[in-house]
């Protein structure tokens, strides 16, 4: 027994090393397996606060750009609004299934394989996991971890990101993935050959996703049948410039929660 103890004491540094390595590997594996319950994330007040204070400085550089984008969006919305019969819209407003929470991106990243962004809105403002994040131009990603005041976003530029999209023209659905190469180009899979995808076709978000249907995603720049000749391999250029995002909207799809409850009734609730 004494020998065992003295042996362990002699090897205590090695054992300590194994312990620390084990913890870090466990955290790594956990982060790759369960995205929504990540323990180590930047959705806390210390990291978020630091990112936000730095962002105040960077914001000035891009202010012109953001203003112009807002003006364009306002113009587009005004045009759309003028097309509606005003009275009927007011009545419909009660049943709008989407809520948009404006937020600011305070930490961007697009050069890695696993790009995680940070926004300055959290649980306090009504953000929960699995909400979509969009800008005026297109989609950004999906809320991953939520802190009190900050949240992290799983970017579309993440090798494990998967988003339900469809062709605007024919409504054929597919999944949007990223192969980790260019931050401007994503891949579209599971589009059947009957869809007849062509270059310059527009891709929008699909019907049963966390995003409102019909949000612009990008345009097709390359489409060819894969080896099995049944599905298309499609390259999509994003409308959003992922290197310059600025302000975003977090989409709360209230209808989706109801649909999910119907599909997966949880006996605990």
């Amino acid at each position: 027994m004494q020998q065992v103890i003295s042996y362990l004491l002699k090897k205590k540094n090695f054992l300590f090393f194994i312990l620390l390595l084990g913890i870090s590997l466990a955290l790594t594996i956990q982060s790759h397996r369960y995205h929504k319950s990540k323990f180590i994330s930047a959705a806390n007040d210390i990291t978020g606060g630091l990112y936000e204070s730095v962002n105040h400085v960077n914001e000035f550089i891009n202010l012109d750009n953001y203003n112009e984008r807002l003006l364009k969006e306002n113009a587009r919305l005004r045009k759309e609004l003028s097309n509606y019969n005003f009275h009927s819209t007011v009545n419909d407003l009660k049943e709008v299934p989407y809520e948009f929470i404006p937020a600011k991106l305070i930490e961007n990243s697009f050069h890695k394989k696993n790009n995680i962004l940070v926004i300055n809105k959290g649980a306090k403002h009504g953000v929960t996991t699995d909400m979509g994040v969009i800008t005026t131009n297109g989609i950004v990603g999906v809320i991953e971890n939520v802190g009190e005041n900050y949240s992290t976003v799983l970017s579309v530029l993440h090798i494990q990101s998967q988003i339900n999209v469809q062709l605007k023209k024919t409504n054929h659905i597919g999944s949007l993935l990223w192969n980790g190469e260019s931050p401007f180009i994503v891949q579209l899979e599971d589009i059947t050959k009957v869809a007849s995808v062509k270059v310059n076709d527009t891709i929008v978000t699909g019907n049963y996703s966390i995003f409102p249907q019909g949000i612009n995603v990008g345009k097709v720049i390359k489409a060819a049948l894969d080896q099995t000749q049944n599905y298309f391999d499609v390259e999509v250029e994003l409308f959003n410039d992922m290197s310059n995002i600025g302000y975003v909207y977090v989409v709360n799809n209230k209808a989706l929660k109801e649909v999910n409850q119907l599909l997966n009734p949880d006996p605990n609730e």
Partner: protein, 167 residues
Amino acid sequence: MNKEVVLRILFFILLVLLQVLVFSNMRIGAYVPYVYVLFIILFPIKSDRAIFLLSSFLLGLSLDFFFSSGGVHAAACTIIAYIRPQALKFSFGRSYEFQTIKLSKVSIAAKLAYFSILVVIHHLVLFLLETFNLSFILFSLKNTLFSSIYTVLLCLVLVTLFSKRKE
């Protein structure tokens, strides 16, 4: 607490802040320099091994919080902290334990070897764990190579500047 420990802690915080606010934005293409490993490279040689391992682990973990990256930085840091004695022995010869090495006094080749061993291993572990997918192994290796060159160069420049001012 003595002065040395306080300085170490300040250096720790300074490097984390610099890494998050400055070095992470000094990207060339897709290659980011991870200069914070300087903390592990410059940690006093004659110090308690367990404290060294623990502080390296905590350094990596703090960066994992900023990058939301699970435990990849913590793992990479713990590994290079553990193998540092071997790297020291390889670069400076067997006698490193008996005389305190002044980095400003050793030859540039030895310094380069020492920095490179630790940085390359750190980056390799980091990028392999970050993708966690064998189909991205070429990407990881390429990233390791170029990011390591960048990190080593920046570290050497910083160390040279810093030690000159001290004398």
